[in-house]
Symmetry: C2
Subunit: 287 residues, 2 copies
Amino acid sequence: MMFVYLNGEYIPEENARISTNDRGFLFSDGIYEVIRSYDGTLFEPSAHLARLGYGARALRLTETGFDYLPEVASELIRRNGLESGDATVYIQVTRGSAPRTHRFPPKDTPLTVYVTVRRFNPHDSEQQQGIAAILVPDQRWARCDVKSTALLPNVLANQQAVDAGAFEALFVREGMLMEGTHSNVFVVVKGEVITPPLTNYILGGITRGVILELCHKLRIPHRETTLLSSDIPEMEEIMIVGTTVEVTPVRKILNVNFQNRDPGPLTRRLQSAFRERVRQGTAGIRV
Amino acid sequence: MMFVYLNGEYIPEENARISTNDRGFLFSDGIYEVIRSYDGTLFEPSAHLARLGYGARALRLTETGFDYLPEVASELIRRNGLESGDATVYIQVTRGSAPRTHRFPPKDTPLTVYVTVRRFNPHDSEQQQGIAAILVPDQRWARCDVKSTALLPNVLANQQAVDAGAFEALFVREGMLMEGTHSNVFVVVKGEVITPPLTNYILGGITRGVILELCHKLRIPHRETTLLSSDIPEMEEIMIVGTTVEVTPVRKILNVNFQNRDPGPLTRRLQSAFRERVRQGTAGIRV
């Protein structure tokens, strides 16, 4: 039996039920985070908390500080026997439960706070061999910098990838390669590592930040600038990065001329640097 | 005690709880409808069902026909003693409950189907005197033609209106006046009634369709064409239409030069034609 955390209580997952009046259910009026746990150590919990706070302020939630959540996550890891091996922590915060109306509910409406942990099977073969992706038009809203649960476009794009036999869908907005449905994208052009800059159309990925930091530390030439999807055939390497995919090479993009590319040297270098960074567990909190 | 319908059962509202694994809660992976009930008669139920089916196909739900729902709504109206006076029926359908992953769950995952009814207090004074609105940038996704529960942008825009002392926020996308957070917009220019055409950026409102039909019937000059927000000061009349607002004049738009406009003659004419249409209850189903 798995335990989850819901509004202050640790309860069996099958008892985790919310009101149909929850604004997360009615309006996607909420935010979320997914944090990786390596052998019981949370990866970059402060960065995840900071992003959750950023989203809470963007949504003007009545609470924007969630400092207690890493402790909740650690408790769930213990209770569910996930202290060793890989796991993911899922956090969701919504504006709470109230009779349906677009405007915010009364200020004393408690937020819904929900946390789960789950065993995670690392994508070893994907990271080794690389994955297939597809390009899809970016139909998402204009605040992709907010990690909200308004994920319907991501769901539809990801399923489109699955149907095409691909692992990830990469969003293209007005000719620009933006990011994946649940990953950021990095490419190599003329030996330089490039990722799109943080705008309102891109999520500030935690792994994205770590990779940029590693590039800096390793003195790998790198830059944040616009990527044109029309330049993809000339790109030397493409990789997706994120909490679950870590650093995963893109072997091919099915609907564009980028095929059968073996993972390149900079991808491999960043993979092992990332692995080392995880081993150090610098910013981690030990359960 | 209010009864609601959830997955085949009529249950007290306080028992209406869904799993935290519901994809409506995790991904806004669902669609909804709001149907007006006048003295127990549903207004345009077939049009609402058709739109629900359209959304279900857009989301590729495993079920796309919901012909039984008007009967469910009528049963709820009876059980909750709402046979007389005004009420609203809320219908929400999600892709069901499954462990969290972007891609669709297994095909045998039952959809979540949720229906409620509620007493509705008509906006009489708003319809009489007109309302204040604000213009806001349209930050929504590119499938506004799908009535999905990914409503976070609508929530934020509506609250912005409330904070400004306005009743509705009107979305402007690239200089074009599109629609409200929960209404369509009609204007009068040189005696002609105009509303934006149905594109992927506009919801095909049921009331919108009825108003166009009434214009046709009454031989009021009318057209579906792009509205520029820069032309607002020269517009003779502006009104919002929808299931809850019916036909409501816009008296002023706070952040643009459109102030203290008494409801105009075409607005009044459409209001009474709409009222008459409701009285006839032509397409209604009697409880």
